[in-house]
């Protein structure tokens, strides 16, 4: 029971921290910016900032505890600062959320059950995966040795150089920082706390995408009546879905079907399998959360319905994802290209081109560094030569 309380509390703390970070990004002025977007953007922003705290001490073989001492006060300061700055907005968001719950109690209960089922499945099942031998063991090893990526997680042996595939993916080091700070064992933190957190965040994105597609806020002020299809109007309601009540029903059905697909689109390669059985791995976060967040931002930018720093948020998501798993280095530039390039061309929004390119750059740079490492151009040693 204590373990469940610790896990629940940790997940709540995670979400509060992400909200605090994200609110700094999404700003105070845009009242239409959903709370959930602040939380999700905050998740990537958190790992983006952590990267800059983590890499220099790691490169110069400083202890994990030194990073913990730097990072924890910083996070505390950000949370306090953001609370002072955004507290009122959060209260108003929560009031609106409560109003929604009162207005749609069945929808709320159904969504809670849906997410609850996923949480139970990912946090209470036993799955044997080879990659956990690296990721989880790396967290445990870093805590045990008070060093970062210096000892081989598979065997515990000292490594004379850093493995560049994982060097910039500092996600697991953040796990180590928290485990060191709180004393929570690596297995509980990664396979329960982070798994539940990722399931919650992924479902938030699903919900935002479903609402955006079905009950969307299509540039309400900008769409002129009759300009769009006959099924759409100035209020942004897709009338092909019928009344707004039907819209809510459609959102529920859509998110439920997303869950069904995640349960049934299963081979050892699909992102659904990663989400359901290897939730704590960086690949699962990139393949589900990051890709879907970029897709959501694309829908909003396509509709011109996001006012606050859409490209900055996209940049942070892309950079943040690259610090979570090196898989993002290739995936997100390709996703950005297939989504945003056609949109830029169609809208003739050439000013967006440099912004698109700047979002692609982090992944490409990390990829290039890795190629140079593989080809033997450089190596980062774990001890001064």
């Amino acid at each position: 029971m204590t373990d469940i309380a610790i896990i629940t509390l940790s997940v709540i703390c995670n979400l509060i921290i992400y909200l605090a970070f994200g609110s700094l990004l999404t700003g105070r002025k845009d009242k239409k910016c959903p709370l959930l977007l602040s939380v999700i953007a905050g998740f990537f922003f958190y790992y983006f900032v952590f990267f800059f705290f983590c890499v220099p001490p790691m490169k110069y073989y400083r202890p994990l505890s030194m990073l913990t001492k730097m990072w924890v006060p910083f996070v505390a300061a950000v949370v306090i600062f953001s609370t002072i700055l955004n507290g009122r907005k959060w209260v108003s968001w929560f009031k609106n959320a409560m109003l929604y719950v009162k207005k749609h109690p069945l929808v709320t209960v159904f969504m809670l059950l849906l997410i609850g089922a996923q949480i139970v499945l990912v946090s209470c099942t036993y799955n044997f995966t080879l990659d956990a031998a690296y990721y989880v063991a790396n967290v445990a090893t870093s805590v045990e040795t008070d060093m970062m990526n210096v000892y081989d997680p598979f065997t515990g042996a000292w490594q004379d150089h850093y493995e560049m595939r994982y060097f910039f993916a500092t996600y697991s080091i953040q796990d180590s920082v928290v485990c060191q700070l709180t004393g929570i064992p690596a297995l509980i933190w990664t396979k329960s706390v982070m798994a539940v957190t990722i399931i919650l965040l992924t479902n938030m994105v699903y919900l935002m995408i479903a609402r955006e597609l079905i009950i969307y806020r299509n540039g309400r002020d900008e769409v002129k009546a009759g300009e769009d299809s006959a099924n759409e109007d100035r209020t942004g309601t897709d009338h092909s879905m019928g009344s707004s009540k039907n819209g809510e029903l459609a959102v529920v059905i859509m998110t439920a079907l997303m869950f069904v697909i995640n349960l049934t689109f299963i081979t050892i390669y699909t992102s659904s399998l990663f989400l359901m059985t290897r939730t704590y791995e960086g690949k699962a976060i990139v393949g589900n959360l990051a890709i879907m967040t970029v897709f959501y931002l694309f829908i909003r930018m396509n509709d011109d319905s996001i006012k606050t720093r859409p490209w900055l948020i996209t940049f942070i998501v892309c950079f943040g994802a690259a610090t979570i798993s090196s898989s993002a280095n290739m995936l997100l530039p390709v996703e950005l290209t297939v989504l945003f390039l056609p949109m830029i061309v169609r809208k003739k929004a050439w000013k967006m081109l440099p912004k698109y390119i700047s979002c692609v750059i982090p992944g490409m740079v990390f990829s290039l560094i890795f190629v140079l490492y593989v080809k033997g151009y450089f190596v980062f040693y774990t001890f001064p030569n």
């Binding site: 202890p63 499945l121 044997f128 060093m147 297995l187 897709d238 069904v260 049934t264 081979t267």
Partner: protein, 289 residues
């Protein structure tokens, strides 16, 4: 993607890779059908959102030449499938299905369409827990016996970091639970051992990889003389060998002189007394800063 190689397969690689990726699931077919539907009957906004990206994906990720080009710069053999994650299957298919359901005019139609869609989903995929759900037996999500093995080795060993040879599954799991346990075999060596029939003579005589002898004896069950086996334990500083009770090499271990230091319901913990006691120490970085 294991066993698939761009150089060997050429432009067939993409199709082979895609076949592995989708397996028996038909969701990509549903996605393709949904894209066609949207391109014919979708609203302007739906077309803007779903059609250009699908066409671009077809031209890039699903272009058979793409993996061949990429392979010149990066090794994409085992990771190209991840590009398939970009296709918004999980958005478009549920979106159209939900639209099909809620746009029915009466309840009867709604129920019939919902049932039809449920049936399509059931037929189109493979359930993640098709082989049954394995509930975790503890908060660590580790086999309880692994925890027992760890405790028994630490109880028996006088050192902070004992070193052990474990069977495959425990080898992959032990350090997630117990980072104080050093392991003799790393992941790549174990993967080689379980996926290749035997070790060649050259490999067994390779002094730089004494762990091959241990793997040959205990995983591939090759005929290894006991002296070489004990030498390999000594060279690798392995103090413990943990095997399951049904391992056919139990008598071999006993005959080699290893003693039983502990046992659990399904495992035996053998101890080897190193001639030169070994105590692993963390590198002292205080001299650096």
């Amino acid at each position: 993607m294991q066993g698939l190689n761009v150089t060997e397969n050429g432009i067939r690689y993409l199709w082979e890779c895609f076949s592995y990726y989708t397996g028996s699931c038909a969701y990509f077919m549903l996605y393709a059908a949904a894209v066609i539907y949207i391109s014919i009957a979708g609203t302007k906004r739906e077309k803007e959102i779903f059609i250009p990206c699908s066409v671009f994906l077809l031209l890039t990720v699903y272009n058979p030449v793409a993996p061949m080009v990429l392979d010149h710069f990066f090794d994409v053999n085992s990771e190209y499938y991840r590009f398939f994650w970009i296709a918004p299957v999980i958005v478009l298919v549920p979106y159209l299905f939900s639209k099909l359901i809620v746009t029915r005019t009466d309840m009867k139609q709604m129920i019939v369409v919902s049932l039809l869609i449920a049936a399509i989903c059931l037929v189109s995929g493979k359930y993640v827990y098709a082989d049954g759900i394995k509930w975790a037996q503890n908060i660590y999500k580790m086999p309880p016996e692994l925890i027992e093995v760890s405790e028994k080795i630490h109880e028996d060993s006088g050192v902070e970091y004992p070193k052990a040879f474990l069977e495959y599954e425990y080898n992959m799991q032990m350090r997630q639970y117990d980072p104080k346990m050093l392991l003799t075999i790393d992941r790549e060596d174990y993967l080689y051992a379980v996926s290749n029939p035997s070790y060649s003579r050259e490999m067994l005589e390779d002094d730089t990889h004494p762990q091959y002898v241990l793997l040959a004896a205990l995983v591939r069950f090759q005929d290894i003389d006991k002296e070489s086996f004990l030498n390999a334990l000594e060279t690798t500083k392995t103090g413990y060998v943990v095997v399951s009770r049904d391992n056919p090499r139990i008598d071999y271990l006993k005959e080699a002189g290893l003693s039983i230091a502990g046992e659990t319901q399904n495992h035996l913990i053998f101890k080897y007394d190193l001639k030169e006691p070994y105590e692993f120490e963390l590198v002292d970085y205080s001299v650096v800063y």
